[in-house]
């Protein structure tokens, strides 16, 4: 008799809790869905569904690079030290690389056209190296990062103003393996 009473109490508690849970679930959607469905077209709703992980899994290396999941950084004229304002970009890149620990990266160092071919190859190398070292200082395994210098042989934009030169003085981060 006592056992039946205990069982009854437990069961009723479970039912009570369940009911409460269901109520909580139901309450939230009731307030919002009307607004959402009216405003957003179907295609746009799909996009936010993909998490960073899903993007990484689904996209090819080429697409990831095309989408520039790793952002490039720019340098001062004739210099190869990492600029203060570029450090946050490197931090974001480092976070991404640390998150997807299987990736391997090639850092390409580039220069603007206001240098000789020979010196620019060396300068581009120094820029790529500076970017690599900075990523390594943020915890990225240096063995995953290779560097290459293109000097001024792969300029991004054609132009003879400082804005164009600035865009060309850069390090790009290319994913080579995921």
């Amino acid at each position: 008799m006592k056992k039946t009473l205990v069982l009854f109490v437990v069961l009723s508690l479970i039912i009570l809790f369940n009911a409460c849970g269901k109520k909580a679930v139901k309450v939230a959607p009731v307030q919002e869905p009307v607004v959402e469905k009216v405003e957003e077209p179907a295609t746009q709703v799909e996009k936010p569904v993909l998490s960073e992980e899903e993007i990484f899994q689904q996209k090819t290396i080429e697409d990831l690079n095309k989408d520039q999941v790793l952002k490039k950084i720019n340098f001062d004229f004739d210099k190869y030290q990492v600029r203060e304002d570029m450090k946050s970009i490197l931090q974001a890149n480092a976070n991404w690389i640390l998150k997807f620990s299987t990736v391997q990266i090639l850092v390409e160092g580039h220069c603007d056209e206001r240098g000789t071919i020979e010196y620019n190859i060396a300068l581009g190398e120094k820029r790529a190296e500076a970017a690599k070292n900075y990523l390594a200082s943020l915890g990225v395994n240096a063995a995953k990062i290779k560097i290459v210098s293109y000097g001024k042989s792969k300029t991004l934009v054609q132009g003879v103003d400082e804005a164009s030169f600035f865009q060309n003085r850069r390090a790009e981060f290319v994913i080579t393996k995921k």
């Binding site: 004739d78 056209e113 240098g115 071919i117 020979e118 190859i121 300068l123 290459v148 293109y150 042989s153």
Partner: protein
């Protein structure tokens, strides 16, 4: 006693001053040497020859342009030939040629067979003594016309104690669309021949000492590695990889190259024994060291270093010791090229955003500027006789190759199509 010593020292000083003075004078004489006035009357056809005027004028014009380019010979203007009686190979009137100020008379006779086989006979006379100096016969098909003329011009240079250069070639990078390939052409820009066929970037070619191989950098495996291409066998071999590998210069005296590499983590200058393949690192500096270039006697190496903050030109002994700085003004210098006589170094300076070619005289410390206010001028390379330099310039919009004389005179454009860069003139094989 003391007075004697002083006199003796003064005497020594006087002698050494005299000697250095003498040296200075010989240099000036060589550079400002009056050119030899030569006359080049129209070539004659041999009796049995086909009267092919196209071949005749091709050889004639090529020879004329070579001699005009030389800075050794001065051609008596063709208009003056009309003042005297027509050239007759059988009865040369030397007095006539003397009257229009010709010292040397160059005559040519052509025998062209039905299959366009050519025999070109060159005869050189000294006008004042009415004497035959030397002659040569050249044979070949029509497509060798330019070569026949270049060989004849080289013979002229050699006979007058100068180094031949008209059969020398220039290696360079030509870009059409996105393709960057290596080409070889004659010194005057004619007969370009493509030697690499690939889709990756090829750059900074240079010659081996015997001019049979081209060393260049290619991004074949997505990395700038150093390769050597044998022009005659067509074989390519990898010389150096890991990091950047570029700007090779073959030693004039030994089976060695110097080049730039960052295989140990930083751009440094290396010396490679081409027989054993063994590397020896020559520079040890956390700064950028690049663009090595041999002195013509093989004892020293000029290079670019950023060890004092900005790229400057330095010279070191071939073992890597005794480093001294050459450029003292300006904040950007690179691409040094040592003249064949060992006395001058040509290089590129960037001053206020302009790139121009300068020549530094190692004896007098004088610097002369070869290019002025005309685009970016880069990668100078000396002719085998040291009287001319080839370089690339974007003065006409796209990069093209140009030649200029040692004193900045006679700039002429060699290439016109696509974009052409990084020229290296052959040296004279030993």
């Amino acid at each position: 006693m003391k007075i004697k010593q002083i006199i003796f020292l003064a005497f020594i000083f006087f002698i050494s001053w005299q000697l250095s003075g003498q040296e200075e004078i010989t240099i000036r004489i060589k550079e400002g040497m009056p050119m030899i006035p030569v006359a080049l009357p129209d070539f004659q056809f041999a009796e049995a020859s086909l009267p092919n005027n196209e071949i005749k004028s091709l050889i004639y014009e090529t020879l004329w342009k070579d001699l005009e380019f030389s800075r050794v010979f001065k051609l008596v203007p063709r208009e003056h030939y009309s003042y005297i009686s027509r050239f007759n190979a059988n009865a040369i009137n030397f007095k006539d040629w003397a009257s229009i100020q010709a010292n040397i008379l160059i005559t040519g006779q052509l025998e062209i067979a039905a299959d366009e086989r050519i025999i070109f006979s060159l005869k050189i006379y000294e006008v004042n003594s009415s004497k035959f100096i030397f002659g040569r016969n050249y044979g070949g098909k029509k497509d060798l016309c330019r070569m026949i003329a270049h060989k004849a011009a080289d013979e002229m240079m050699k006979h007058f104690g100068e180094k031949p250069l008209f059969t020398s070639k220039i290696v360079y990078v030509s870009e059409t669309g996105t393709d960057k390939e290596i080409y070889i052409m004659d010194y005057d820009g004619f007969r370009p021949t493509r030697i690499t066929f690939n889709n990756y970037i090829d750059m900074l070619p240079s010659w081996s000492a015997n001019n049979e191989k081209i060393i260049y950098t290619a991004y074949r495996h997505l990395n700038p590695d150093l390769y050597m291409f044998d022009i005659y066998s067509g074989k390519t071999e990898l010389l150096s990889s890991g990091g950047v590998n570029y700007a090779a210069d073959w030693s004039p005296g030994a089976e060695q190259i110097v080049y730039t590499s960052s295989k140990d983590g930083n751009t440094e200058i290396y010396l490679k024994d081409m027989k054993t393949g063994q590397d020896k690192r020559l520079t040890f500096n956390p700064a950028i060291d690049t663009s090595p270039c041999w002195s013509p006697n093989g004892r020293e190496i000029a290079f670019t270093s950023q060890r004092n903050g900005t790229p400057q030109i330095y010279i070191m002994d071939a073992e890597g010791s005794n480093i001294r700085r050459i450029t003292t003004e300006g904040s950007y210098h690179d691409s040094s090229a040592w003249s064949p006589d060992g006395m001058r170094i040509a290089y590129v300076s960037r001053i206020e955003g302009r790139f121009d070619i300068y020549v530094f005289n190692l004896k007098s410390n004088d610097i002369i500027k070869l290019t002025e206010n005309s685009g970016r001028n880069e990668n100078p390379s000396w002719s085998p006789d040291g009287r001319h330099l080839v370089f690339s310039s974007n003065r006409s919009g796209r990069y093209q190759l140009y030649v200029v004389d040692y004193d900045g005179r006679n700039i002429r454009q060699l290439t016109t199509s696509g974009e052409n860069k990084m020229p290296k003139w052959q040296r004279l094989p030993k």
